[in-house]
């Protein structure tokens, strides 16, 4: 028999038992809906993380370090090998090393990684953040080429700071971003000011660094004897102008880790500022104050394809290189396991739906035994009968898959809206927790039809094996 007629018969059979078909299909719809929404959550989370890396062009940057800390040894408690580093300080990256790295083909820019803790004082409000030094040339790259207000500094020695939007929250300032906002009683109670971001550009701000106070160190023993504990640090205040305000990001960016820091200042300015940065703690502990150089540096390449060759060249020079690209595969592996876990939950729902299909079709065979006998008496082959039942299962799978994808999409929309209203109401951006790429829709449809056809194997085989003589006697 021709396929169109078999499909026609199958559709007719499904239409005759509309309610049962609907209920069976509903099971598949829920199964596929659960599967799509679960997997789309995993994909959405992965997308949010990797997008941040791509958006900030982090794959073209790598961190060159003069030392290698083996995390496995740290975790295993092998302090003997690690403690050696304390007494044998690693070779520092010097300016001449950076020049050598800069000459490697594919390298676009090299600059030392300078970060140090600072206090910010704006008016009467103060907050603490991490300050990072960058060359002015970074201003043409993401995310520094797209500031909320103002612009990135133009030279490396000016006293201009780029602040991250999140810093203002700690300074009791809310940025209006061009939107009207009426001052409410809650804001008054908490002394919160609503200010246009643009109006803050050009304002003065004080950056306060900590430095080791040698006088305090020499008198430390005396203080300890009298039971008074003073840390041997003093503060130095530097006057800066706010050059620009960096966006807080759209979700999973941790500003301190990825976009930079709460404050970004020009690199030459930073080098002239007395400070106690994180790198100097080695010098403090080992008593070497005269060492010149950096513990790490950032190397930026022209294109993602250059990462591997540049990485190899720098490692050949005896330095260790950390590239986010190395970590991307690890991140992806982690998400594959996460997705599999979510997909498994959805698959369980689909398996339950498949049992529903088997049940419905077995019932259908019992009801249609005589009809099967009639078809066989008319010359219908076992294959014809099998195809009819397969077509019925396939149609249930197709309809269930199609409507299931729609249900899954609706669920993700509702869940995302609820999450953004209730979970993220404290932050002022929208996050897409879910992502439904085309391949997921296609896979869900194929999976739905596949599972339905699998569920149809037993009923179809049973229908095909019906004895026509007995079937014709069947009531």
């Amino acid at each position: 028999m021709k396929t169109d007629e078999l499909t026609h018969i199958a559709l007719g059979n499904l239409w005759r038992s509309r309610l049962r078909t609907l209920l069976t299909t509903l099971g598949v719809i829920i199964g596929i809906g659960a599967l799509v929404s679960m997997v789309s959550f995993g994909i959405g989370m992965q997308k949010n993380v990797t997008d941040v890396f791509y958006k900030n062009e982090l794959f073209t940057s790598m961190l060159v370090s003069s030392q290698t800390v083996n995390s496995d040894k740290v975790l295993s408690g092998d302090m003997k090998s690690i403690s050696g580093n304390l007494y044998e300080p690693p070779p520092l990256l010097t300016d001449s090393t950076l020049i050598r790295i800069q000459s490697i083909p594919g390298v676009e820019m090299t600059f030392p990684e300078i970060r140090f803790p600072v206090k910010l004082r704006l008016g009467h409000e103060t907050t603490q953040t991490n300050c990072r030094a960058l060359p002015a040339s970074m201003g043409k790259y993401k995310p520094f080429n797209d500031l909320l207000a103002g612009s990135f500094f133009k030279n490396d020695s000016q006293h201009t700071v780029i602040l991250n939007q999140h810093v203002f929250k700690d300074l009791n300032i809310r940025l209006k971003n061009g939107q009207d906002h009426s001052h409410n009683w809650e804001d008054s109670l908490r002394n919160i000011l609503w200010i246009e971001a643009d109006s803050l550009v050009g304002d003065s701000i004080q950056i306060i660094t900590s430095v080791v106070d040698m006088n305090e160190i020499s008198g430390l023993a005396g203080f300890l004897m009298h039971g008074r504990m003073h840390l041997p640090f003093k503060e130095v205040t530097h006057n800066f102008r706010i050059g620009g305000i960096q966006k807080i990001g759209t979700g999973f960016e941790n500003p301190d880790m990825i976009s930079g820091s709460g404050a970004i200042i020009p690199i030459q300015t930073a080098e002239t500022m007395p400070r106690m940065g994180f790198s100097n703690i080695w010098d403090v502990l080992s008593g070497r104050h005269d060492r010149k150089g950096y513990l790490s540096a950032i190397v930026r390449v022209h294109h993602i394809d250059h990462v591997k060759t540049v990485q190899d060249s720098i490692e050949f020079m005896g330095y260790s290189v950390y590239s986010i690209l190395d970590q991307l595969n690890e991140i992806k592996k982690g998400f594959v396991i996460f997705d599999m876990g979510l997909g498994a939950i959805g698959t369980i729902a689909l398996i339950v739906a498949a049992l529903g299909i088997i049940n419905t079709m077995v019932m259908s065979i019992l009801e249609r035994t005589r009809e099967i006998g009639i078809m066989k008496s008319l010359g219908g082959s076992e294959q014809d009968i099998r195809v009819i039942f397969f077509a019925e299962a396939g149609v249930i799978g197709l309809m269930g898959g199609f409507l299931g994808v729609i249900l899954g999409w609706l669920v993700t929309k509702v869940a995302n809206a609820v999450a953004n209203i209730y979970v993220l109401k404290e932050v002022h951006f929208t996050v897409n927790f879910f992502s439904i790429p085309l391949w997921l829709i296609f896979s869900a449809l194929v999976f739905s039809i596949g599972v339905s056809l699998l569920a149809g194997i037993y009923p179809a085989a049973r229908a095909a094996s019906v004895n026509p003589v007995e079937a014709l006697r069947h009531d």
Binding site: M1, K376, S377, L378, G379, D384, P468, V469
Partner: protein, 235 residues
């Protein structure tokens, strides 16, 4: 001339637990093309079993059945399907129409198994229904038709793929006498057009009116054969 149907030493035994029922035993039979042969006998005498064997719905334990020179007992599954599609057309006492399908669709289903395209199926099914006098009942479902009309739909369906032999299992068993007479008359008319009919029936008088030969079956064996008229004397 080769016979249309030849059955040689055919037996069929059913087992139900420890009980063995020999429905057909060592049966021999010959039928020529153009004949109407009626098989009469009591319930349980093996009439329907023999019909199912000829129809290819069941297989004998031993013996041979030739139709048009082809041995059914040597056919594979595909050949048996083709045999049911093209060699024989079956009519049942309870009509065996699919209740959810209209007359046209029921006849069309047989044509579909015969590999006909959609438009041809529709045209041919309409012609067949017209030929059995059901032109106005094409779009009615079996539940909306009388017993006689249902049997005529079943006859139209049985003729769909122009079979060599029409197998009728108690075609008038569920009909009143007037309708039964009309159905027998239709079968007789089909026979005059050259269609061979093998009929199983309880209705001896009806069978005598249209049959060329009547065979009497008892305990799975033909015990009596009565020649009523020759093939050249169609009534």
């Amino acid at each position: 001339m080769n016979p249309l149907l030849k059955i040689q030493n055919c037996s069929r035994t059913y087992s139900k637990g420890t009980i063995r029922i020999q429905a057909v035993r060592d049966l021999c039979l010959t039928m020529n093309a153009g004949e109407i042969v009626s098989l009469i006998g009591r319930s349980g005498s093996g009439k329907s079993t023999l019909l199912n064997l000829i129809g290819g719905l069941d297989m004998p334990d031993q013996g041979h059945i030739w139709i048009g020179g082809n041995d059914l007992t040597r056919m594979n599954r595909d050949d048996l399907d083709k045999h049911r599609r093209f060699n024989v057309g079956m009519i049942f006492q309870s009509f065996n129409l699919i209740p959810s399908r209209t007359s046209l669709e029921n006849v069309s289903l047989a044509l579909a198994f015969g590999g006909k395209g959609r438009s041809e199926r529709k045209r041919r099914a309409a012609e067949l229904l017209d030929s059995v006098g059901l032109k106005d009942r094409m779009n009615h479902r079996p539940g909306e038709l009388s017993g006689g009309e249902c049997q005529r739909v079943a006859i139209a369906r049985a003729l769909a793929n122009q079979p060599m032999l029409l197998l009728a299992d108690e075609p008038t068993g569920n009909l009143d006498s007037k309708t039964a007479e009309a159905v027998l008359s239709l079968l007789n008319e089909l026979n005059r057009k050259g269609i061979s009919i093998f009929m199983v029936t309880h209705d001896r008088s009806g069978a005598e009116k249209i049959s060329h030969r009547i065979l009497q079956l008892m305990d799975g064996k033909i015990i009596k054969e009565k020649l009523l008229r020759s093939q050249h004397e169609n009534g």
